[in-house]
Amino acid sequence: MDRIINDFTINIATANGTGSQSANLILLQSLFDMGVPVSGKNLFPSNISGLPTWYIVRLSEQGYQAPGDRTHIQILVNPATWEEDIEALEPGSVVIWNSDTKKKTVEREDIISYPVPMTSMARKINPKLAKLVTNIIYVGILAELLGIDQACLESAVAKQFKGKATAIELNVTALGLGRDYCKENLTKSDPYAVESREVEKPQFFFEGNEAAALGSIYGGVQMLAWYPITPSSSLCEGIINYIPRLRTDDEGNATVAVIQAEDELAAAGMVLGAGWAGGRGMTATSGPGISLMQEFIGLAYFAEIASVFWDVVRVGPSTGLPTRTQQSDISMLYEGSHGDTQHIVLIPGTVEECFEYGWRAFDYAERFQTPVFGLSDLDLGMNRWACSGFTYPDVPMDRGKVVREQEVFEAFETFGRYLDVDGDGIPYRTLPGSGMDPILYRGTGHNPMGVYSEKPEDYYNLMQRLRTKIDNARDHLPAPIIREEKEGEVGIVFLGSMENSIQEIDDLLEATGIKVSQCRVRALPFHSEVEAFVRRHEVTIVLEINRDGQLYGILRRELPNDLVTKVHSVAYSDGMPPRARIYAERILATLEEVKQ
């Protein structure tokens, strides 16, 4: 039998709240530390404890990070999903199962079965913590079966339990017990194995939410207002965790105010208040929160208040699938609130970009005096991704057109809060407490001096200026990442966390003889390079994780008429992180339709 090295998928079926997450992260980290290209996806339920959870570990020499098409090794610990997990396996798959599970067995003849009495083994170590220890035992079994390096395992345990000696000792003992059981009782009859690899550039694992949190800290966030919601809470908690180290003086006083709001409306109101007062305020939420914030988003646009909102998207509409991933808030962010609006949306596709847009969001918000959105999603935000380190901001903080000194203020011939002095649509502002140009900010119609007005020309001119202002932002925002094939036949426009599946999709298409160029959009409104990309290609597919093709809709509307017919949509979502084959097949089908 040929060995299959570093190229298979492990699926771990456990119950939520049993401590399996730390065992799974130890497995992931130890493989990562061996230099094995690996990614992990946590498919968890909206529940504190009891409901089924799956953790998918994919090893891929090509570096593919999407969940694979099938499971090669199934860990079975959860009786609740036992039968369906077995049934889903393809012939030849491996099952490592807890043989202490009451009334459960594995009867399929066409799969490789490794029964392990995990519960009784765990009880031997610590009867009280048996449930918890069971999880680390399957990691020990896997380690022995696959050949995971012991030193890497132990360092992963140490990392996971950061100095908690008892926990570290308990886990290392359980790992050893798993290994010993495997050596003494199981005969390896599967082809799967891992091998260490030299890593060119050292990397570490990091979650997008924590990266965005750290980026916000380096962006000089001064006020965080938040209301807990999955999957964005860890972004806010990330900021809170970094404040003592990075934003607190020797006396223990912070330069960031953190307020847990009573709801998302209040969180948005606080962000606007902070921006109005001249500070850098932000919140992070998910789709339901953005829905609640709509009214304030319109106020921020119309009254021109610098404000930063992160949307870590989960599956909608309504409460939807709260712990699953999607790219379905694109339209809502871009055109948020009633009336004519248009907003700047930053769309990271990597943890490095989560960090970068974490600080840049404030610069854009203050430069353009408008709400700025960070658009992430559960997959990018809550899963761990390989990262080679964060780059320190290469430009000083851009505070925008704020008049702080009396002499500067007096140099203006006429000062009007909404007067377009420079012809770029961006007016100058003064700050509350300064006494300079004290106006009453309002969400009602206003003239260039900031005074209430219902005059047709004042309203018309204001709305035109706002459009110009955001339109001018296009090429100041992050340009798309373009990976171009010289053939120029098919271009794929995509965004955000699809970055982690695109290479596999590209390879699948290339295997059928189709070479595609890639254009990853990193901001809205679209950079002018996006239009140029569409122009250069015969056919462009807009690929996104939703039902309606939201990015496609926006692109179609903004492209010149002669390009509109060149653009086609492939939009698909079932709540799972994007599996490459599904999207590749849909692209092929769409290209086939286009040909006809």
Partner: protein
């Protein structure tokens, strides 16, 4: 032009100045667009007087409001102050965010009963709960004015506005609610009681923490008829005043107020000023929440409106203390402090890689 001969010019009088040498004109705003006789305009005048007499630098006040007749009024006072006319009922959250950035301003919120007792009641409650350092005036007339006279959630049972049937829905008493929430300064007044309202507002401005003043402010257009329990006539007849209130500013303690002959109670405010409460009949102890609630419920049962400083507590920490921030306002923290240095990120990257 009038045909009558011009009056002989009066001898020029010196313009009266406050402790900052500012004339009262420095505290006025634009002309009001509310209905002539609106109680809200009287409150605006009280705001101007209180800010001027308290000697607050006019540009160091932030005027906050929501949506409604009352929330339009920030345009009519303190023209040298920045203001924010926000969205319906959400002024407390905007104020909270602004306060987090610049805690050195005096936040003066003006709201109505639609704003505060209906759509924004949650935000009011949570601002009280945080003991947000602000003055919060409710201009309370029992009706929605801008939408032409629907009952609000503070309309008294049995009260009848100009058009339509009497209100039969139980009202929300914002003062009772605030006392139950532990609000640190709770007062009720009447837009027609200029002296009392001025003293209460001055005291509220000297208070550190959330100061609620619920001001009955009749709506002359929709709710000033005889059957209304919030008309000028009704309130004048049925106001139960807890005490005479005098404010003694910290910068001028001896002037302005004479020591009364009867019973009085002095309450020292956070900035060293004093509010002196002179007993009218029964003495009210504003540190006694139970007494305050009894006064409110007693008045309500009798169809009366009780006014005065209902409740006061100087001991609770305000939001600023809870936030554990640096001494200066965050607004004044320089950019190179807000952004940690490169070495700190290098160290983090190295730790992540280890």
């Amino acid at each position: 032009m009038s045909d009558r001969p011009a009056r002989p010019a009066r001898p020029a009088r010196a313009v009266k100045l406050n402790v900052l040498n500012e004339p009262k004109d420095s505290y006025t705003g634009g002309p009001s667009s509310l209905c002539p006789g609106c109680g809200h305009d009287q409150i605006s005048n009280v705001i101007i007087t209180a800010a001027w007499e308290n000697g607050i630098e006019p540009h160091r006040i932030a005027k906050m409001s929501g949506i409604g007749c009352s929330s339009k009024t920030p345009a009519y006072y303190l023209g040298q102050s920045h203001g924010f006319n926000t969205v319906h009922g959400r002024m407390p959250s905007v104020t909270t965010g602004a306060y987090a950035i610049n805690k050195d301003l005096l936040y003066l919120g003006v709201s109505g009963d639609g704003d505060s007792a209906s759509i924004g009641i949650g935000q009011l409650i949570h601002a009280i709960r945080r003991n947000m350092d602000m003055v919060y005036i409710v201009e309370n007339n029992g009706v929605y004015g801008l939408t032409k006279g629907q009952y609000s959630a503070t309309a008294d049972v049995g009260s009848k506005k100009k058009k339509g049937p009497a209100n039969e829905t139980q009202p929300i008493d914002l003062c009772a609610m605030a006392i139950n929430l532990g609000c640190t300064f709770v007062a009720r007044s009447f837009s027609g009681s200029k002296k009392q309202l001025t003293s209460l507002l001055k005291a509220a401005m000297s208070h550190k923490g959330f100061a609620l003043i619920d001001v009955i402010s009749p709506c002359v257009t929709f709710n000033n008829n005889d059957e209304s329990m919030r008309s000028y006539g009704y309130v004048k007849e049925n106001e139960v005043t807890l005490h005479m209130a005098d404010y003694i500013p910290h910068f001028n303690p001896m002037q302005e107020v004479e020591v009364p002959e009867g019973h009085f109670r002095d309450i020292t405010l956070h900035d060293g000023s004093t509010i002196r409460l002179e007993t009218i009949s029964d003495e009210h102890d504003p540190s006694d929440a139970m007494a305050a609630l009894m006064a409110l419920h007693g008045a309500e049962t009798g169809g009366k409106h009780v006014t005065g400083l209902l409740y006061f507590d100087a001991t609770k920490p305000s939001l600023a203390e809870d936030l554990c921030l640096v001494d200066e306002a965050l607004l004044d923290v320089p950019d190179d402090i807000l952004r940690p240095d490169k070495a700190s990120l290098d160290a983090l990257n190295a730790e992540f890689l280890s």
